[in-house]
Amino acid sequence: MKILKNSIRDLLRYPSAILGLVIIIFLLVVSIYALATIPYSEAVRLWRGGEDIWYQNPKYASPAWLNAFSSKKKPVSFAVNTTDGSMTKTITPSSDPEISTVDVTYEFDYAYDDVPQELIIYFTSQFKEKFSFVSVSWITPDGRTIRIADMAADSKLTYRFAQDQKLQKRLKTENVMQAIFADPNSPTQEPLKGRYQLVISATTFEKDAALDAEFVLHGELFGVAGTDRYRRDLLLPLLYGTPIALAFGLIAALGTSLLTMVIAAIGTWYGGWVDELIQRITEVNLVLPFLAILIMVGTFYSRSIWLMLGVTILLSIFSGSIKTYRSIFIQSKESSYIEAARAYGASSSRIIFSYLIPRMVPLLIPALVSSVPSFVFLEASLAVLGLGDPILPTWGKVINDAFADGALYQGRYYWVLEPAILLMITGFGFAMLGFALDRIFNPRLRDV
């Protein structure tokens, strides 16, 4: 306990260790938050779902906070719905019990310097035989009312403003967005800033008929993290990639270093053919192409992240560090406390696990922490080669998608930078802590 306290006190003398610890704690908090708010199945559904889950989002949208750094404000996407109350719906019955009117109005402030990509209304209605009738109009901040469309609403109806050819004809332009947002007095067709109003008035012709609408504005910016080419919200892989990256890095580092140490201890303790065998396996493993085998396993068998993890650990156990541990164990095997244990008749397993290995913990901990980043990056590297887990949202997958889509050519830097910066933070956090631990536990390094 006292040793632990002393180590922590020593650790706090290194600013890099404190920074590293803060980063790791932050990542742990993000992981817990991600796992608590998004269950596994939900994460997979949101990541792999398909158009009907992502339809609300614009394609290739940058994160919304970019507006804070730019003088030219780009439109931010939003979606409102009558079912969850974000858009109000009023139903007025008429004298005829069969007929009633549904009025939906949505007012919003538009203060951007650009027109949005698209406005979409999704109608869902319930009726037995008679379709409801919908008319949509648009009121600009300067009070002009533009008639958008009148149509019969099927049980599901999607109305896209920019693609409506009747509306294009009526407005005498192909660019509907420009026409309904532009300031008529501005020679450069600047968008008019102010309060816009969407008015949907529908008439239903049945007693139990119901109508709901969802209004979506596809701007150029979206949410905290932006979206990719499939309209997926990137916040999901950024959040959910954290526990995956940490789990992969920590399990691989822990598994590899513990197993390496146990095997080295067993080899040195028993000596003879066991030791010889372990050394030969280490040499064979040196010849095996590590990355190529991982790629083969990914290509031929399965790209599941957990299989990759297992193969990674298996290939990393018999690495060069087994020789380092071996040489230290050979020394401590001869120490007097081992002799004492032998004298009182301790079993081999007791000596290995209670006396030999615990002495090595100071050496193990820094090595373990320092090896976490390499495994985190290994997972990302595999994903960049297209061998990422097919169902899980991970940081490496995002980078791979972005590269496959030429995000850097197209100037969509956010797409690459967000996961890359998270990877970097994770890597540096563990590396900084590992370095500090190394200096604390290996006093030989402390004064140099």
């Binding site: 890099s16 030969r280 040499e283 064979v284 493993n285 040196l286 010849v287 095996l288 192409p289 990355l291 190529a292 085998i293 790629i295 083969m296 396993v297 290509t299 031929f300 068998y301 320092s370 980043p373 390499s374 990056f377 990302a380 590297s381 960049v384 080669l385 980078i399 590269f403 850097l408 050519y409 100037g411 830097y413 690459v416 930078l417 890359a420 990877l423 970097m424 890597g427 540096f428 563990f430 590396a431 900084m432 590992g434 370095f435 030989r444 390094l445 140099v448």
Partner: protein, 377 residues
């Protein structure tokens, strides 16, 4: 040859002769044993690679199905065969499949074939690729690998050698004045080496290619490639800057840090203090008292570095679209092309085994305390 060097020249003739003999026998026996154990290691390693590259024979099933599909489709779609009866077509398909399977060696069971692969690999008879072709259209594995070798060596060689010598030089300079500002900077930056080269690669592409448009995004030369050799070289050089820099950036700080710590441990030895007290010049102390005893380690590191040059940087090459061996190996795996995978592995295994074997002798040459074949090596 090593045995002669270990003979002390001043020894009396008769004693010297018996010593030469015993040294020779010791070295000879040791070399033989070592070579045998290396060979066994290489054989096991390569055979394991062959097994994995074929999924223990499962790749055969994939290839058989592919052949069946392609031949059947080809014959059914070919208008020349339309007049044939159904049975005649079926026969034709069967015989074509058989020829194709024979061509790829699929008529033999996998166990036999895997031994054949192993034998060919060990005798460096790399054979023909299954699906891949070199840019010239050859299916010879040797040609496919040779064609990509220059590009890989250019990237790995330039970056790794620069990295190695620069970090040695800087580390030596820093070890002389440790605790200085630059020394602290290197220590502070050494965690940056946690990230692999491709990771810095994407940042470099972003800054220099996407934002400043100063350097190309990737590839080996401009397209179309310049005719004039000078312009060609210049264009290659321009394409080399970013991938090579990303390799160097990703490990320079840790490399300097490790060498510096290593040199520091040696520079606190008593004999170095003694040399300082005698008033020797710092240059002399460095070369005679610090570099000399650390030479075996430096040579080992250098030798291992040189052989890894061969394997290429698969992911960095992928990110920069650099047409090297790493990318070829990656593509070969995608094509289930065992001969190419095994060819690349066997060359690495041989290079590694030979290097490790030779290093024992090099140690004996540079470090008088080490004797070949004695001790528990």
């Amino acid at each position: 040859m090593t045995s002669e060097k270990t003979v002390p020249s001043a020894a009396p003739l008769s004693e010297g002769k018996t010593r030469t003999n015993s040294t020779f026998i010791r070295v000879f026996r040791y070399s033989l044993l070592r070579l045998a154990s290396m060979m066994v290691t290489v054989i096991i390693g390569v055979y394991l690679t062959i097994l994995i590259a074929n999924m223990g024979g499962y790749v055969d099933t994939i290839m058989r199905n592919e052949i069946r599909d392609n031949t059947t489709q080809g014959i059914l779609a070919n208008p020349n065969y339309r007049s044939l009866s159904t049975e005649a077509k079926a026969d034709l398909i069967q015989s074509k499949i058989a020829t194709e399977e024979k061509r790829l060696g699929l008529d033999q069971p996998f166990a036999v074939r895997s031994i054949k692969y192993l034998k060919n690999a060990l005798t460096l008879n790399l054979g023909r690729a299954i699906n891949m072709k070199s840019d010239q259209g050859s299916k010879e594995v040797r040609l496919i690998l040779l064609e990509r070798l220059p590009a890989t060596l250019l990237l790995t060689g330039s970056s790794s050698l620069l990295l190695f010598f620069a970090s040695l030089y800087i580390a030596l300079a820093l070890s002389r004045k440790y605790g200085s500002f630059w020394d602290k900077m290197v220590i502070a930056f050494s965690p940056t080496s946690a990230a692999p080269p491709w990771f810095y690669g994407i940042f470099l592409i972003l800054i220099f290619s996407a934002i400043f448009k100063a350097l190309p995004f990737g590839g080996l030369v401009d397209s179309p490639s310049p005719d004039n050799p000078f312009d060609y070289g210049l264009s290659v050089l321009k394409h080399l800057i970013l991938p090579a820099s990303s390799v160097i950036i990703s490990s320079i700080f840790l490399s300097i840090y490790n060498w510096r710590t290593f040199f520091l441990i040696y520079s606190t030895e008593d004999y170095v203090e003694m040399a300082k007290a005698k008033g020797l010049k710092p240059r002399d102390i460095e070369s005679r008292y610090i570099l000399r005893p650390t030479l075996p380690t430096i040579i080992t590191n250098f030798a291992l570095l040189v052989i890894t040059l061969w394997t290429g940087f698969t992911i960095t090459e992928t990110v920069f679209l650099w047409p090297g061996l790493g990318i070829t190996l990656f593509r070969a795996i995608g094509f289930y092309d065992t001969p190419v995978i095994v060819g690349s592995t066997i060359i690495y295994a041989y290079l590694l085994a030979i290097t490790v074997f030779l290093l024992d002798f090099v140690y004996a040459l540079v470090d008088p305390r080490v004797k070949v074949g004695s001790g528990n090596s």
